[in-house]
């Protein structure tokens, strides 16, 4: 399997890494970073929507209050992304800001901002269909957190 760095997205120029996109033979993956777990979850969501669309084209016209629960911290990350994929696939909502309101080892509450998909305004790059448990890794170190998630497209 080929694992090549495709590009590095800097949320703010000159600031720390927020996420990377990685290649996976049949699919695509993300590596998200964060000073803490909250930031990591927020950046993973941003990585997801950067694959789906161009996040800078999305305005904050609506917000969603989401609650996700799971078995443990690792699977919470997968379920969080699957929650967002569901809202994209069924409600056609594009999101670009994710405020994590609370986070435990198996529960998350977040407020997400974005707008309804508009074919005249937004470009859809790929249709992400699921976040997987495959090669899932979530590491915490003194310097911060890092997670790898493979997505089915």
């Amino acid at each position: 399997m080929e694992m090549l760095l495709l590009f590095l997205y800097n949320g703010l120029r000159g600031m720390k890494k927020t996420f990377e996109i990685i290649d996976h033979t049949a699919d695509v993956g993300i590596i998200a970073y964060g000073a803490d777990v909250e930031e990591l979850f927020s950046n993973a969501a941003l990585a997801l929507f950067s694959l789906i669309t161009e996040p800078e084209s999305v305005e904050e016209k609506l917000h969603l209050d989401l609650q996700v629960s799971s078995e443990d911290r690792d699977s919470l990350l997968v379920e969080w992304l699957n929650e967002l994929i569901y809202f994209f696939d069924v409600k056609h909502i594009l999101l670009n800001r994710f405020d994590i309101d609370s986070l435990t080892h198996n529960q998350l509450k977040a407020t997400c901002y974005g707008e309804d998909f508009d074919p005249m305004k937004h470009k859809i790059k790929i249709g992400v269909k699921a976040a997987t448990y495959h090669m899932l890794k979530l590491d915490r170190s003194g310097a911060g957190c890092k997670a790898q998630i493979i997505l089915d497209i």
Partner: protein
Amino acid sequence: MARWQGQLIKIDDYRWKIPENYKTGMRVPGLIYASKEMLESMREEQTPEQVANVAFLPGIVSYSLAMPDIHWGYGFPIGGVAAMDIKDGVISPGGVGYDINCGVRLLRTSLSEAEVRPRINELINALFLNVPSGLGSEGKIKVSQKEMNQLMVEGARWAVKRGLGSEEDLDVTEEGGCLSGADPSKISDRAVKRGMPQAGTLGSGNHFLEIQVVKEIFDSHIASIMGIDEIGQILVLIHTGSRGFGHQVCTDHLRIMEGAVSKYGIKLPDRQLACAPINSSEGKDYLAAMACAANYAWVNRQCIAHWVRESFSKIFGKSPEKLGMRQIYDVAHNIAKIEEHIIDGHKLKVCVHRKGATRAFPAGHEDTPRRYKEVGQPVLVPGDMGRCSFVAVGTQKAMSESFGSTCHGAGRVLSRGAAKRSMKGSDIARELESRGITIKAGSIPSLAEEASQAYKDITEVMDVVHQAGISKKVAMAIPMGVIKG
């Protein structure tokens, strides 16, 4: 990723064994169908490791199998086959895949290349308008919640009852287009919401609709039974699955299986192999939900086949019957089935996982349709859009060796990202046009992801399964017009 260094023992030119002692925890050896040349890219991709990982699953019998089109998947390799004893074995949603009952349907026509070539643009445009495709595409059939529950249970017949196709189509569809045991109460509200608007759509990614020209006939007797009569004849291939519905069913049940793994104390080398005993409530619930998604996919291909016939009829001014648009067959290549096989001389009921693999039952098998009873079940193997596709039949050898299974396609060699970096979608469209292949796609840039160079050569894949004897080549066709979602 580092090259896979494990041992592969040569059995013959097309069979390679991963010994059971390669890794502690393997319950059976691995068996890979491949030519010597193919092994190198498999090692580079680390896919034999996934074949070995599948061998950990409780109840697995004989071998963890890999077809020559194998490539790296989630947990299970794509192109993997594993059979579990239903008494003490497990069912794994990862062994089916997200796109439950992704599969292929092939229609014949009595039209020739000479008749279709001058009208190919018109035809492709008509098909593009008539068959909803692309990201977020929504169906022309409006399905209510009640109808969703019916179609999950009835499968392709649900569409036939509404005038979309005929009884004869069902006769030449795997399982008659309806997997038994479907229970809509095992389907989440979310899956239903994702599925309702997408029923009767082609989708995006590697799904396509292709007008093909027969280029080579390897066995004219079997071909004629299928209605493939001569070189230059036009065929239509439909490749799609269960859309967002299947994905949600897989996602929901993987989550349930996550809990089951610890509940039943199952040791796994990869979390994505999450599974539950076939006889447990979690296992039974997944099988009932998987059947719903499989049936949804058959409805999908049934509707699309009908609109294909309508489009041909409109362009050529004749009824589909007059155009000879009979269905050759419809096969699933992402599915788990309870089947009976002979293991070590004894009949055994097993759950056969086919993840990117096609059922290939022989002549005389009770599940081989009447029309093909004497020649074997048709096997449909699509290649990439620039090369060719094959029609084959199942064999006795497949039955005795690979749980009645064979390959499903070309198999990727380049990731989507790598393909996009090395090629441009617009160049590919031009190149295909220059070779007489008309293409219409929802997204031209994404064409690069599906370019020939991103896939193994289907001809090599077919040679391996043919030479190994697990299927028999019947005909080969090349694309003339392609619709990509």
